[in-house]
């Protein structure tokens, strides 16, 4: 049944586009000023740049060792997020469907762990792994992200698994599937919207993370993108315009991913709707 399209005051559109403008102003500032010098930026942040000079980008590209950094970021993010999504969704399913006492306890512990302030475990973390001589290693970092990402991921999945009707799984079990098959064929596809959401949120978290990699990855060749922007910060001031160029270069890959991922969300949604 189609809604009759009435001529109505475009409240929705006004609200959305106004909010959009407000949201996007900082990006205008960043993009615009990435083509100027810091000196000009400070005296007049809003004025449109005179030229599309890429000097900041070239400078930032070299200082950041960009290709190396983006490779590291990419590798770490890809593996970490994949591991988190796979392990957390299966754990969440298990903890919810098998209503054992211990599962409830584990779930409570996991959820509480989301609130642990990072500095409470910072020093113990590096001292434990340092004594195992396990630092300065991408794979350890990936393992750490896998661990740190569990609470949030499991929590997220938990709420959505509830929405998947139990009858579907029971039907599958009666048909002779075991639990693992039931999970992969019935539950996982239905989780697509939240898994994609989780994927995007986790990619953003890990891609932009500074503190943890700064403590684990110590040598220059291991640096991720956020770590490699350190050279634009000095103790008292910031070299703004190259920083902005580096920011644009850091955001761009994720932006591209997100734009492409948008189509997947729609696909997943459509598939989920046809049950």
């Amino acid at each position: 049944m189609k809604k009759r399209k009435s001529l109505r005051f475009p409240w929705k559109e006004i609200f959305i586009y106004l909010s959009l403008a407000l949201s996007v102003v900082p990006f205008y500032i960043i993009l615009n000023n990435s083509f100027r010098t810091t000196e000009l930026f400070i005296s007049n942040p809003f004025s449109l740049t005179n030229s599309l000079s890429f000097h900041n980008y070239v400078y930032a590209f070299e200082r950041m060792n960009y290709l190396n950094a983006i490779f590291n970021s990419f590798l770490i993010t890809l593996f970490s997020v994949t591991l988190i999504v796979l392990t957390a969704s299966s754990a969440a399913y298990f903890l919810l469907r098998f209503k054992w006492r211990i599962n409830k306890i584990i779930f409570a512990v996991l959820v509480s762990a989301m609130i642990v302030p990072f500095q409470a475990i910072m020093i113990p973390l590096v001292s434990i792994y340092g004594s195992l001589n396990a630092l300065n290693n991408k794979w350890i970092l990936i393992f750490m992200y896998m661990g740190f990402g569990q609470p949030f991921a499991i929590f997220l999945c938990h709420g959505f698994i509830k929405n998947i009707p139990l009858e579907l799984e029971e039907a599958a079990l009666i048909d002779g599937c075991n639990h693992v098959q039931s999970f992969y064929n019935i539950v996982l596809p239905n989780l697509k919207p939240i898994l994609i959401t989780l994927l995007i949120l986790d990619v953003l978290w890990i891609w932009n993370d500074y503190l943890l990699p700064s403590m684990i990855l110590l040598s220059p060749m291991q640096r991720t993108l956020p770590l490699s922007t350190y050279s634009f910060f000095s103790t008292y001031s910031v070299d703004f315009t190259p920083l902005m160029a580096s920011l644009v270069m850091t955001i761009l890959p994720v932006l591209v991913l997100f734009v492409l991922g948008q189509k997947q969300i729609v696909k997943g949604v459509v598939q989920g709707a046809i049950k």
Binding site: P26, P45, A91, Q119, A120, I123, L201, L243, F258, Q262
Partner: protein, 293 residues
């Protein structure tokens, strides 16, 4: 289920939850336990020696008026930023799942603020508050904008709130969108057939089905709010004169600047326990409202 053999149960447990829990325990739980152990010592972060001093650190924490004051400030900050960002996020998600033109692109656009990470976010907004808004205020003659938001204690905390809402509205919006999208088609069609439109539909059908999303989003904004550090450091640096220093920043300074590591850790643990209590209560209360599909 209870008639399953034990080894089969263990097998399932290991297959489904094994990897996740192994990583979690080795990376989060173990360091946390060691961190708690440190709260019973007087370690100063540098020397190789330290001694156990029992609960002394905790006593100091509860007598630390500055910590308590900043904790209360953090509660105020979390309250405002959570409510406002969730309101904004929910509204945006609702509008952007209603079939507007170009809504996919718009969703992406609203999500952009999230792409800027913690440290840089603060510096950029600090610049906006100190330079951009002040210049705007001076040229347009708006009194309240002519001096920086960041130099007045009452306004500076609002600068933190504004930036937090700006950053998280898009993030939470994503979760709300997933929630809206997960409302089964049949339910929506049934509502249409029953003649439920607009506000009543929103209140009677949509919102109750969105409760899982509320649970998640509230939890995220509250817990993240309490742990805010990066933004605090780079936007206001706790200023002016320490009036916007939030709990997490206090802990960092105690542990690493003043090198009173045991006390800093104890404060972190206390922070954790209190926030855990608040959040778990919130989750349990709101989960009771959850409606199965």
């Amino acid at each position: 289920m209870s008639n399953m053999k034990l080894h089969k149960k263990m097998g399932l447990f290991l297959v489904f939850a094994g990897p996740a829990l192994f990583a979690f325990i080795s990376v989060l739980l173990l360091p946390l336990i060691q961190g708690v152990v440190f709260t019973f010592t007087d370690w100063n972060l540098v020397s190789d020696k330290f001694s156990f001093i029992g609960l002394q650190n905790y006593q100091t924490v509860f007598r630390d008026r500055e910590f308590i004051a900043q904790f209360l400030l953090t509660i105020k900050y979390v309250l405002y930023s959570s409510v406002l960002s969730n309101l904004a996020a929910f509204t945006l998600a609702y509008l952007l799942t209603s079939g507007m033109r170009g809504q996919n692109l718009l969703r992406g656009a609203f999500f952009l603020p999230n792409l800027i990470g913690g440290i840089v976010l603060g510096y950029i907004w600090k610049f906006i508050f100190s330079n951009v808004l002040t210049q705007l205020g001076k040229s347009l003659g708006i009194e309240v904008l002519s001096t920086s938001f960041l130099t007045h204690p009452q306004r500076a905390i609002w600068a933190m709130i504004i930036v937090t809402v700006w950053q998280y509205a898009g993030y939470l919006m994503m979760i709300y969108i997933a929630g809206f999208v997960a409302i089964p088609q049949e339910t929506q069609e049934a509502a249409d057939l029953d003649g439920a439109h607009g506000l009543s539909r929103l209140l009677r059908i949509t919102i109750p089905l969105m409760v899982p999303s509320f649970v998640i989003c509230l939890f995220i904004s509250i817990s993240r709010g309490f742990m805010t550090y990066d933004l605090n450091l780079t936007l206001t640096n706790g200023g002016p004169f320490g009036s916007t220093q939030l709990a997490a920043m206090h802990v960092y300074q105690k542990a690493f600047l003043a090198k009173q590591y045991g006390i800093g850790q104890a404060e972190a643990i206390v922070l954790f326990i209190v926030v855990a209590l608040i959040s778990v209560t919130q989750v349990m209360l709101t989960k009771k409202l959850e409606v199965e599909a």
